[in-house]
Amino acid sequence: MNKTKLNVRDFITIGVISAVAIVLFISVGTIMAITPVGWLFMYSVLAIPLGILYMLLYTKVPKKGVVLVSSLIFALPMLMNNWMVPAIITIVAIINELIWSKGNREKFSNKVLAFTVFMTSRVVASFSTLYLLQDMYLTQFADRAEYFEAVLEALAGPLIIVSFAAVVLTSIIGAFLGKATLKKHFEKAGIV
């Protein structure tokens, strides 16, 4: 069988892992997004469980195209409320895929980089969308204006740097946690 190209088995693995990721995203995201501060740090909290998932995916399927396809599938649910979030994620995903396929895909550092860029792209996408389309948000959701004003106020201050640093940091922590989990459980079970 072709060793470098994605086959049907890999596509199904990507689909299954993405399904678990989407379920996690919905359940954690709904709880976190209730408060403005929670919304800012939603992806930082998510990065830890997702680290395990995506380390498993990248280790099980170390092939060209994994990063792109998995990012696109995970971006798709966002299409429901705004076109800009998936657009930004797609652009970053293409760049990320280029970095991923150029480097040594078996190496752990490459996986950490891909995962960190993936998580950070989501934060960049949701923040910049809110920032660029803020007038639309404020008029559209006049009844919830104080929530978005609180978020925008926080974005203007130093909290945005904290938020970015947090997501990068937790992505790396999540990746290392994923590596440890892979070693402890999945290698023994003969899965990776």
Partner: protein, 240 residues
């Protein structure tokens, strides 16, 4: 597949169902007021009713009304402050997302995976994208079932997913929840792959489908009626 027995009343193409979901998303996002939101939700429930999901439609309707009604009353009489923001946001998210959730659930439950793949093949979307997408859609409900079993088992062993455990031993709780979930998921993925290979999903030639997949008159009519009824709600809001 041809002798699958009784089909539902609304026998739409997967693309039409996808457009229904997208339209619901766009309209609930644009809805200026609770009145329009409730109108959209009633249209969504109408689809469920026509398609024969009476129990589901009634339960969802009661839930939505309860959440919106109670939420409005509570936010009005609770003093200003953090609680009001939290409750308001919860209300806001339920109000906007629940209609999408209901119609997406309907679309997923009523679409055969092979139909979805054939429809996307007709849209010239590459196979590398359609297969993972189809698997993801099919698998989200399964993940939730599996997770329920794991949660029960965790509770039995005294390591349940509670706030106390999440704050005290976060890494262990995460490990106990995610590792079995992933192990089971990967196992199911292997089974699915075997089944897909048996069905010749890895061939490069175009797929054929026993069930005819195509956009017919009923699809266009359904879409026009659906968006039309929702737009009537917007007009009613503007002029009444």
């Amino acid at each position: 597949m041809a002798q699958r027995g009784k089909r539902n009343a609304l026998d739409y193409d997967p693309r039409t169902k996808l457009l229904f979901v997208l339209a619901t998303g766009i309209f609930t996002f644009m809805a200026p007021d609770n009145f329009v939101l409730i109108w959209c939700f009633i249209v969504v429930l109408g689809i469920l009713l026509i398609d024969g999901y009476y129990r589901q439609a009634i339960m969802n309707g009661i839930f939505y009304m309860l959440v919106l009604g109670l939420g409005t009353i509570i936010t009005r009489y609770v003093a200003n402050g953090i609680l009001q923001i939290v409750l308001g946001m919860f209300l806001f998210m339920t109000g906007r997302l629940f209609p999408i959730y209901v119609i997406a659930g309907w679309a997923i439950n009523n679409t055969e995976t092979s139909e979805l793949i054939t429809a996307m093949q007709k849209m010239y979307i590459p196979k590398g994208f359609t297969i993972p997408l189809a698997v993801t859609f099919r698998f989200v409900p399964t993940v939730r079932y599996e997770f329920r079993y794991i949660k029960n088992t965790m509770k039995l062993r005294g390591v349940g997913i509670t706030w106390k455990n999440l704050l005290k031993v976060p890494v262990n709780t995460l490990e106990y929840a995610l590792v079995p979930l992933l192990l089971r998921s990967i196992k199911i993925a292997d089974d699915l792959a075997a089944s897909a290979l048996t069905r010749g999903l890895d061939r490069d030639t175009p797929r054929t489908s026993l069930r005819e997949v195509g956009l017919h008159l009923r699809d266009y009519a359904g879409l026009i009626i659906f968006t039309g009824t929702i737009l009537v709600g917007f007009f009613l809001y503007d002029y009444v």
